[in-house]
Symmetry: C2
Subunit: 348 residues, 2 copies
DNA sequence: GAAACCTGAGCGTGATATGAA
DNA sequence: GTTCATATCACGCTCAGGTTT
C-alpha cells in the first residue's frame, strides 16, 4: 500500500494530521468536520481540502466515545427471514434522517439472540430494536432496565416494564383474511399456524374469532405449521389427504403460504380454482409475479418508522405517552392485499 | 430505569466504578477483565464479583480506540440475497474463533455499496469482506490501498492489486450442470443467465464450453435472465412459447431457477418429466423439501472460512502467497447436488 | 458583542514503566 | 527473580472555556 504523504506510516490520518497540514488547531478541524459553526469560510475550505488530500476519515468510535451520546441504535434481526430483512431496510431509512446510526446484529442457527444482544450492548448502542425476539420476557425486562428496548412484531403479555412494543394487529389481520374468504363464498377454511412464533397466538385467535362470527365455529380447524416453507408444505400435504378438502387456507406467513402453494401445485391441485391460499406479511416473496400471493400486508415501512420513533423518543427524554413509564404498545392496522391466489370456491 | 447502586446516574458502569467497588486500581480491573496475567486469584475473584454486581460491561469502542488493533472485519452483504445471508452466517462462525469481530453493513435498494463501505470504514474495520460486490474495479483498488479487501464470489479481471478474491469456479459449475444433463440424455439445453451479476460471465462461458465439448455448439442458447425469481419466471415464459421446447434449463442461480420452476408448474409443464431444471448456489432455498432443486453447490462454509482467512493473513502481516503483493485469487471447486428437478428427457 | 480561533481536559480503555511484597 | 499491584500516558475525538481580532 502506498504511504500517504505527510501521514505516519501504517496509521490512518487523524484530526491532528489534518490540522498540521492546514496549519490550524485540532479543535478547529473538529468543528469543520462536524459542520458546526465557529469557523470562517476560507479556513473551512482549506481544512476540507487538507482532509481530502490526506484521505482523512472521521473515527466513528472515538467520536462516540467522547460525546456521551452515541446515537447508535442496535438492531437484532433474523438473517434468514425476509420479513426481517425488509424491516431492516426500513429501519436504516428511518434512522439516518433522524441522525442515528444503525448497528446490525444477526441471529442465525449458530448465533443466538443472547449473543446478538451482547454484541450490541458492547458497541454502546443507546437503544435496542429487536425484530421478532423470542427471548423470554424476563431477559427483555433485564435489558429494559439498562436501556430503551423496542420489540417489533412480538407482543408481550403481560406488558414488560420499559419495553415498547410496535406490532401489527395480528388478530385483525387473520380476521380480514377469513372475512375475505367468506365473502368469496368459502366455508371450509383452515388455518396453518405458526406455533410459538411471535404473532402466531394472535393470528390463531383472530382466525377463530372470525370463524365464530360467521357461524363457522364448528368448521374451524387449526393445523400445526411454522414459519418456513417446509412447515407449510408439510401441513399442505396433510390437507391433500382429506376428503372433502377444505376450500381455503390461511397460512401463518408468506413463507409458509409459499410452501402450501408449492405442495398443491405439485399435487396438481390448482390454486385458486380448487383451493384458495392467503399468506401474511406481504413480504418480498408474496409480491413476486410468479407467486402473486393474496396476503395480509404489514406496513413494514411504518413499523420501522414507529420502532425508530419510539426508541428516539425515549432517548430524547420524552416520558412515555400517558405519563406511563412502563411499556408502551403501538398497534397498527394490517391491510388485505388481494392477488391471484384467492377466488370463489368451485361449488360456491 | 432503576439506578444501579454505586454507579453515577444515567451512565453505564466503567472500569473505574468496578475498581472503586473492589477497592483496587483501574489498571488491575482492566487486567482482570481481559483475562491477562498479573492478578492474584483472590483479587481476580473479588473484581469479577464487583463487576457482576454493578453490571459492568466492557466498552468495545473504547477498547478498540486504545489498542491500535481493532480486530474488526467489515462485511458488506445484500439484505435480500439468501446466498449472502448464508455466507454471513459462515463469516460469523469463522471470525469469532479467530478472535475477530464482525461489523455488518447491508446493501439494499435504498442503500448503495458506497454508503455501506463508508460506514464500515468509519467503524475502523481492519479489513473489508465484500460479498458479491458490484462496485467498479477502480473503487475496489482505491479501497485496497487503504486496507485489505476480499471480494467474495466476484471475479476481478484483470486482477486488482491488493484485492484478494475468493470464489467458486463458476465456469466449472456450469460445465458440471451441463455434463450432468447430457449424461441423462439431454441435448437441447438452455442457459438462463445472470446478466452483469458477479459470476454470470463465467457461468455463461462454462455453459458454452461444455456445450461445445459435447458437440452441441449449434444447440447452445443463452437467454437473458437475472438473479431474482421474477427474472427466471420471465425467461421461462419465453421458453414455453417455443416449439419444440428445450428439454433442460441451467439457471443462473437458485432464485432464478425457482422462478423457472414456478412458471413451468403454473403452465402444467411437469418438472422433471418434460423439462429438467438446474440451479446454482445450493442456497437454503434449493434444499427445501418442496423445491428440492438439483443445483451446483458452492461450499459456503469454505468460502466464508477462506475469506476470513485471507483477511486475517493480510492483517497478521503475512505476505501474499508466492511473494506476490498484488491480488490473490482462491478458487474452490463447486459440486453438483442432484435432487429431484432433473431426469432423462422423455424421448431420450 | 460577535465571529474566528485556540487551549486544555477528559471520554473508557490498554500498555508500559515502576514499585512493593 | 517472580508475583501482584499501581501510576501514568496515549488512543482520536468533542466540548467548555478562554483569547484575539
Amino acid at each position: 500500500m502506498p504511504p500517504t504523504p505527510g501521514v505516519p506510516e501504517g496509521k490512518r490520518p487523524t484530526l491532528a494530521d489534518v490540522a498540521a497540514r492546514a496549519g490550524v488547531s485540532v479543535a478547529l478541524v473538529s468543528i469543520v468536520m462536524r459542520g458546526a459553526k465557529g469557523a470562517g469560510a476560507a479556513t473551512r475550505e482549506r481544512v476540507l481540502e487538507a482532509a481530502r488530500e490526506i484521505g482523512y476519515r472521521p473515527d466513528a468510535r472515538a467520536r462516540l466515545l467522547r460525546s456521551n451520546r452515541s446515537r447508535l441504535l442496535g438492531v437484532q434481526f433474523g438473517l434468514q427471514q425476509p420479513f426481517h430483512t425488509d424491516l431492516v431496510e426500513g429501519v436504516y431509512a428511518a434512522a439516518e434522517p433522524a441522525g442515528y446510526q444503525i448497528a446490525l446484529s444477526a441471529v442465525a442457527p449458530s448465533r443466538g439472540e443472547r449473543h446478538a444482544v451482547e454484541t450490541l450492548l458492547g458497541d454502546r448502542c443507546e437503544a435496542l430494536i429487536l425484530l421478532g425476539p423470542q427471548a423470554p420476557a424476563a431477559l427483555l425486562a433485564e435489558l429494559a432496565a439498562q436501556l430503551p428496548v423496542v420489540s417489533v412484531a412480538r407482543r408481550l403479555r403481560p406488558a414488560v416494564p420499559g419495553v415498547d412494543v410496535v406490532r401489527t394487529a395480528d388478530d385483525e389481520g387473520a380476521r380480514r383474511a377469513v372475512d375475505h374468504l367468506v365473502s368469496l363464498g368459502h366455508r371450509d377454511i383452515v388455518h396453518i399456524d405458526g406455533g410459538r412464533a411471535p404473532g402466531a397466538a394472535d393470528r390463531r385467535r383472530g382466525y377463530r374469532t372470525a370463524m365464530n362470527r360467521h357461524g363457522l365455529a364448528d368448521r374451524a380447524r387449526v393445523l400445526p405449521g411454522g414459519l418456513t416453507e417446509e412447515d407449510g408444505a408439510a401441513a399442505a400435504r396433510t390437507l391433500l389427504g382429506d376428503d372433502p378438502r377444505p376450500t381455503a387456507v390461511v397460512a401463518f406467513n408468506d413463507r409458509c403460504a409459499t410452501g402450501v402453494l408449492d405442495a398443491f401445485l405439485r399435487a396438481r391441485v390448482p390454486v385458486p380454482d380448487e383451493i384458495s391460499v392467503v399468506g401474511f406479511d406481504d413480504s418480498h416473496l408474496a409480491r413476486l409475479a410468479h407467486i402473486d400471493l393474496t396476503t395480509v400486508g404489514q406496513d413494514v415501512r411504518r413499523l420501522a418508522d414507529l420502532a425508530v420513533g419510539r426508541a428516539v423518543a425515549r432517548l430524547e427524554g420524552e416520558a412515555a405517552s400517558d405519563g406511563e413509564t412502563s411499556g408502551n404498545e403501538t398497534v397498527i392496522a394490517p391491510h388485505l392485499v388481494i392477488r391471484s391466489t384467492t377466488a370463489g370456491p368451485r361449488n360456491g
